[in-house]
Point group: C2
């Protein structure tokens, strides 16, 4: 999944929301990374979107965390995303297992040496 952005999301001060999506594919899916990029781009256009981070380990195990202003934004995104996913081939068959967790970020710390 080498085409995906390798950046840490610049989120505002908490509180805000995180959607933690962890998935294990049955096998490498051709075009999956293109679709993931497209889905992330679509998320970025959504109201309340704060940022997204994605890491794929050996093309079958991945974690995507997207950040949102509030639960309403997540719900709106979910409805939109479900629709898009359904339009692209049936996602169900790709996943051996997945987990989606919705969490309220209460505290955050970090450092970025590039920006000082």
């Amino acid at each position: 999944m080498s085409k995906l952005n390798k950046t840490i999301a610049r989120t505002p001060e908490p509180p805000y929301y995180a959607v933690i999506f962890t998935s294990l594919l049955f096998s490498e899916v051709e075009g999956y990374d293109d679709m993931a990029i497209e889905m992330n781009a679509l998320a970025a256009k959504q109201a309340g979107f704060l940022g997204v981070e994605t890491a794929w380990d050996s093309s079958v195990f991945g974690i995507t965390v997207s950040y949102w202003k509030d639960e309403e934004s997540i719900l709106a995104w979910k409805n939109n995303a479900d629709h898009q996913w359904a339009q692209k081939l049936g996602k169900e068959k790709w996943y051996q297992s997945y987990s989606l967790r919705i969490a309220k970020v209460e505290r955050a710390y970090g450092a970025d040496k590039k920006s000082g």
Copy 2:
């Protein structure tokens, strides 16, 4: 980071806590995955530990999400982990940037075709 477990954490019903650690290394660090495995194993022995998920993209960008019963468990783990990190070479020099977010998981969904 091919040695790390590619599994989705089996967590109980929410609420519980998530620690989302996203990091970008300056370059590939020799022995980093061994140390990550060791740190995850250490976390697993900690009171209140519920599970951990780690994905590394091209050995420099990674997301690790660990799950905990409550904030007290996280604090105890943080103190222990900081001590361990300090003992191994100075972690500071590895990271171009990192972000640590503490979040309360409110809802969770998932599916696992292996276990039915």
